[in-house]
Structure formats: structure tokens, C-alpha cells
């Protein structure tokens, strides 16, 4: 679209204003992360940057361990979600099922996605205590599987339905079995779908706080967001450490929006917009 000059100026101003407002909070966190405690307290606008907070966050507060926990729970859940999602997407998208059955499954998944996750927090806590996985990454993986499976199945179902039927029929004519069709034809064609579902599932699990805080109690399973909350609730609020932790917590989302934006956009529009 091409607009006259005055309109272009208005549009440009709106966009620049939007960028500035969006970036301010992010800049503030990076700034605080590099400030010495005395500069944070004095509130002056000028200061000399220091790596003190990064050192103390990783040294004194065992932040590395929290990062490992975040990585393990988010990637563990993502692997399982992708396997389950690819199989279910294949089954629902390629084979003929009664319409009510497919509709029932998709509606159930949509409903789970709509529910406030807090309704699962209590039950998962009790289950993890009963099964004996409380305060282990396994408990978090269990929760993230439930939270992320719906979107993954919806995305992969959509992708598997776009696979041309002739391809599958041709493979069957050549005597290929269903599982071979799945691994040799559908999976390669679903790669963009797997990337979309996988990235979203990873980043949303990594970002979670509610389940991490209710299913862990020590650094054995605690993830970065829980660490941040603990820093914030310390009797002397550790601003520098909080800022460092928040900056590290933002890395996956940052990488995704920079290098995989196409997948994010497609995946989330698919989750929301029906064809």
C-alpha cells in the first residue's frame, strides 16, 4: 500500500512510538542487570556498567542449576508433545474417522487450551505427591505435556491434512505399510509443522511459572522463573540478580522472534483462527 506524504508521517510516528514504548521495559532490565547495587539504590541516570550481578547470580545463587532444570523440563516435554502430536495429527488427518469423533477430540483440546491453567495446579500437586515425583523435573514435564499438547495436535493435524492424498495412495500401491508412510512420507513433509509446534511448546514451557512454583521446592527441580520470584521475595530485594535472571529467561523468546518468527506467527494464528 502506498499512502500520501502526510499520512505516511502519521503512520511512521505511530510505529516509532510503539517501538519506543515496547522497548523501554526491556532496556530498563538490561540497564539494571549491569548496575552495581549502589547505583540501583542511588537512582542516578548515569553509571558505569559492571558484570558484578552476573557473577553473583551464577556464583552465589546457583543460577546455572536453575537453567539446566528449565532446559530439561521444557525440552523433555517438547519431545513427548511432538511425538504424541505427530502421531495423533497423522491419525486424525490422514485416515477417515467418524466426524463426531474428530470434532470431539479437537473440541476437547481447544477447551483445555482455553481453561485457566490454575484449575490443574492443585490436582497436579496432589498427583505428583501421590506418585512421588514432586520436586523433580518429571513433575514439571507432566504439567507441560498437558499444557502444550493441545496446540501441538491442532497444528500438526492441520499440517497433516495438507499432505496430498495421492502421495499416500501411491505409497500404499507400492506396498508401503502405514508406519512406513508415517515415517518416510508424512514426517518429512510435516517438518515445518514439527518446528512450529516444537518451538512454541518449548518456549511456553520454558516461560511457565505457575507449575514450576507449585511442583518444585528446591533447586533440584526449580526453574528460572521460580528463581526470579525467590529473588524478588528476599527480605532485601535483589534487583541486580533479578534483572540478570530475567534477561537470561528471555533468551528463548528473543531467539525465536529473531530467527523463527514465521513459525511463531503461523503456529499462533493456526491455534486461534479456524480455516
Amino acid at each position: 500500500m502506498k499512502a500520501p506524504r502526510l499520512d505516511r508521517l502519521v503512520i511512521f510516528s505511530i510505529l516509532v512510538f510503539g517501538v519506543v514504548v515496547t522497548l523501554i521495559p526491556i532496556v530498563v532490565v538490561f540497564r539494571t542487570a549491569l548496575q552495581l547495587p549502589r547505583d540501583i539504590i542511588s537512582g542516578g541516570l548515569l553509571f558505569s556498567p559492571s558484570l558484578h550481578n552476573i557473577q553473583s547470580t551464577f556464583g552465589t545463587y546457583r543460577f546455572g542449576r536453575l537453567m539446566v532444570n528449565s532446559l530439561v523440563s521444557a525440552s523433555g516435554a517438547t519431545v513427548i508433545v511432538l511425538a504424541v502430536g505427530a502421531l495423533a495429527g497423522f491419525s486424525l488427518g490422514i485416515f477417515t474417522w467418524p466426524r463426531w469423533w474428530t470434532a470431539l477430540i479437537l473440541a476437547t483440546l481447544l477447551m483445555i487450551q482455553m481453561l485457566p491453567p490454575v484449575v490443574f495446579a492443585g490436582p497436579f500437586y496432589l498427583i505428583s505427591r501421590q506418585v512421588g515425583i514432586y520436586n523433580t523435573p518429571l513433575a514439571l514435564i507432566m504439567a507441560y505435556i498437558v499444557l502444550q499438547t493441545p496446540l501441538a495436535v491442532l497444528i500438526l493435524h492441520r499440517f497433516s491434512r495438507s499432505i496430498p492424498g495421492e502421495l499416500i495412495e501411491a505409497a500404499h500401491m507400492d506396498g508401503a505399510r502405514h508406519h512406513v508412510v508415517f515415517t518416510h512420507i508424512c514426517l518429512p513433509l510435516m517438518t515445518p509443522g514439527l518446528a512450529t509446534a516444537g518451538l512454541l511448546s518449548f518456549v511456553f514451557s520454558w516461560n511457565d511459572f505457575m507449575f514450576a512454583v507449585s511442583l518444585s521446592s528446591t533447586t533440584r527441580a526449580m526453574t528460572i522463573p521460580v528463581g526470579i520470584a525467590n529473588f524478588a521475595q528476599d527480605f532485601q530485594i535483589l534487583y541486580g540478580n533479578i534483572a540478570v535472571a530475567a534477561a537470561f529467561a528471555a533468551i528463548p523468546g528473543f531467539l525465536m522472534v529473531l530467527f523463527a518468527q514465521r513459525y511463531v506467527t503461523r503456529g499462533l494464528t493456526m491455534g486461534a483462527v479456524k480455516e
Binding site: L15, V119, G122, S214, V257
Partner: protein, 301 residues
């Protein structure tokens, strides 16, 4: 030739491939919801490591209906959803249409505007804590430099809720933007082009061509976002923890508090079941509304 044995197994693949999903739905969704319902009729305590349920009938539900804090949390969440989603939609539509006009730098704007949604909500809470904090916040430092004594944004009875709304808008405008932008990118250019040739002003084109065409996708974005708005939790936990005096208490923060801090697990379960029913009714209502509007549009065209 296929052997009959593997042939049967092959026919079964359709069902086998669905088993993991069904297993997850049964074990991790239906069973927990079932347990939630049982819990909501019980008093729950831990006795030597085991979880003990003792039935109390409708007591939890009777308490819930008289609970002023629960009512407050429901009203706060609804108000937050209505106010934030309205403003988010307005901003997102303006930004998405504006980005649609830009050719060079398009990617930069999209990247920045989508980013907040992908950040951990707790990190967003941290960012705003560093801006809004009474003592060390950037906002009050700037105000001090201008000679103004900044208020306690997060602890003031009148300012806490609006502050939370600002944070929510910063966080979630990105989601509405992303959905509406998908609509903007599929707009037929020919329509606005020919209107422009016919001498229509840019303002007329936006109001009379672009916005009507975007209406269905804006509706989808508003509905999805409104339902998601009822999930709000992390920022409130970090910034105000429901305070001052329940003024920013929402459904999630209250249920978490009742379950984990007050250890009234049966009561929290009853509140969760009521939330579940409330959201289900809301979703069905919205779906009905959406189908009504779609039918009306189809009837008109």
C-alpha cells in the same frame, strides 16, 4: 503380498497412533479433573506422606458462594479482561494497519511488536517492577528529576489496578497484533488501489474498506484474547500479590493462595470447579456469538 498378521497390525496403525493422545487426555486431564471434583467435596490433609480426603458434602461450595474475596477476584478478573482487551484491540489494530503500510522496516516493526508475548510473564513482571517500584523504580526517578514526588504505583489503593492493566496491555497487545496482522497481510490490494484511483482519501480507505474486511479476524482475536485474559496470574503475583487489600486479586492468584498458602485444598478445588464451569459457559457463549455473526455476514453477502 502382505502377511495377514502384519496386515491386521497395519490396519491397527490408525488406532495405535491415536493411543498416546487419548492416554494423555485420560490420565492427565480427565483423571485430574475427576480428582478435582472429588477434592471439591472433601477436606484434604497430609497424614504421614499420604493424601487423606474426608468428605464434607457441599460445605466448600456453600462457602464459595458467600466468599467476598472470591467475588472480588471474579469481578477484578472480568474488569481486567474487558478493559485490557478493549485497549489492546484498539492499539493492535492501529499498529497492524500501520505496519501494513510500511515496506522498508516492516520486519523490524513486526519483530518488536510480537516480542512481548514470547517473554516469560514473570520476567515481564520484573521489568515493570523496575519501572513502577516506589523506591528504586525508573518512573519515580524520572519524576523526581522533574521535581515530582512519584506515588507508590503498586501499593496505592487507586493506582494498583490501573498499573496492572498497563502491564497487561504491554504484554498482550502483541498477541492481538499478531492475529490482526495475519488479516492485514491477506487483504486484497486491488480494492484499496482502485478506491485510491477513484479519489478516496486514505482515511476513507481505512474506515470503509480495510476495517470492514478485517472485522471477522478482529472478532476472533478479541474472543480468543478475552478467554485467555482470565488466565492472568504471574505479573500480579510478582507486582502486587493481589494487594493492596484484594484490589488486584484475580481468580488464579486467589485459588493459588487458598491452595498453597492457606492449605485449604478442598476449598481451592471447589473454586477451581466453579472457574471451570464459568469459563466453559463463556467459551460456549462466545462460540455461539461468533456463529451468529458469521451467519449474519453470510446472509448479507
Amino acid at each position: 503380498m502382505r502377511t495377514s498378521g502384519s496386515g491386521t497390525l497395519d490396519d491397527l496403525f490408525k488406532y495405535l497412533a491415536l493411543v498416546p493422545l487419548i492416554a494423555i487426555l485420560v490420565v492427565l486431564v480427565i483423571a485430574p479433573v475427576g480428582q478435582l471434583i472429588v477434592t471439591s467435596f472433601s477436606r484434604v490433609r497430609f497424614a504421614s506422606g499420604a493424601v487423606v480426603f474426608s468428605p464434607v458434602g457441599l460445605e466448600n461450595y456453600r462457602n464459595a458462594l458467600q466468599d467476598q474475596v472470591a467475588l472480588r477476584a471474579l469481578l477484578n478478573t472480568t474488569a481486567l479482561a474487558v478493559i485490557s482487551v478493549t485497549i489492546e484491540t484498539l492499539l493492535a489494530v492501529i499498529l497492524a494497519i500501520s505496519v501494513g503500510y510500511v515496506h522498508r522496516g516492516n520486519l523490524l516493526f513486526r519483530t518488536v511488536f510480537i516480542f512481548p508475548m514470547l517473554l516469560p510473564p514473570i520476567a515481564i513482571g520484573v521489568m515493570w517492577l523496575m519501572i513502577l517500584d516506589f523506591n528504586y523504580g525508573v518512573l519515580n526517578a524520572v519524576l523526581a528529576a522533574l521535581g515530582v514526588n512519584g506515588p507508590a504505583w503498586l501499593a496505592h489503593p487507586r493506582l494498583a489496578f490501573p498499573s496492572i492493566i498497563v502491564v497487561d496491555i504491554w504484554h498482550w497487545t502483541s498477541f492481538v497484533f499478531l492475529i490482526v496482522l495475519a488479516g492485514v497481510e491477506t487483504l486484497p490490494h486491488e480494492l484499496s488501489e482502485s478506491a485510491r484511483i477513484d479519489g478516496a482519501s486514505e482515511r476513507q480507505i481505512v474506515w470503509q474498506i480495510i476495517l470492514p474486511l478485517l472485522r471477522p479476524i478482529i472478532l476472533v482475536a478479541v474472543i480468543t484474547r478475552t478467554i485467555f485474559a482470565f488466565k492472568v496470574y504471574e505479573q500480579i503475583f510478582l507486582l502486587t500479590d493481589g494487594g493492596p487489600g484484594n484490589r488486584t486479586e484475580v481468580i488464579s492468584s486467589y485459588i493459588m493462595r487458598v491452595f498453597f498458602n492457606q492449605n485449604r485444598m478442598g476449598y481451592a478445588a471447589a473454586l477451581s470447579v466453579l472457574t471451570l464451569i464459568f469459563i466453559t459457559v463463556l467459551v460456549i457463549g462466545f462460540m455461539y456469538l461468533q456463529s451468529l455473526l458469521t451467519r449474519e455476514r453470510e446472509a448479507r453477502s
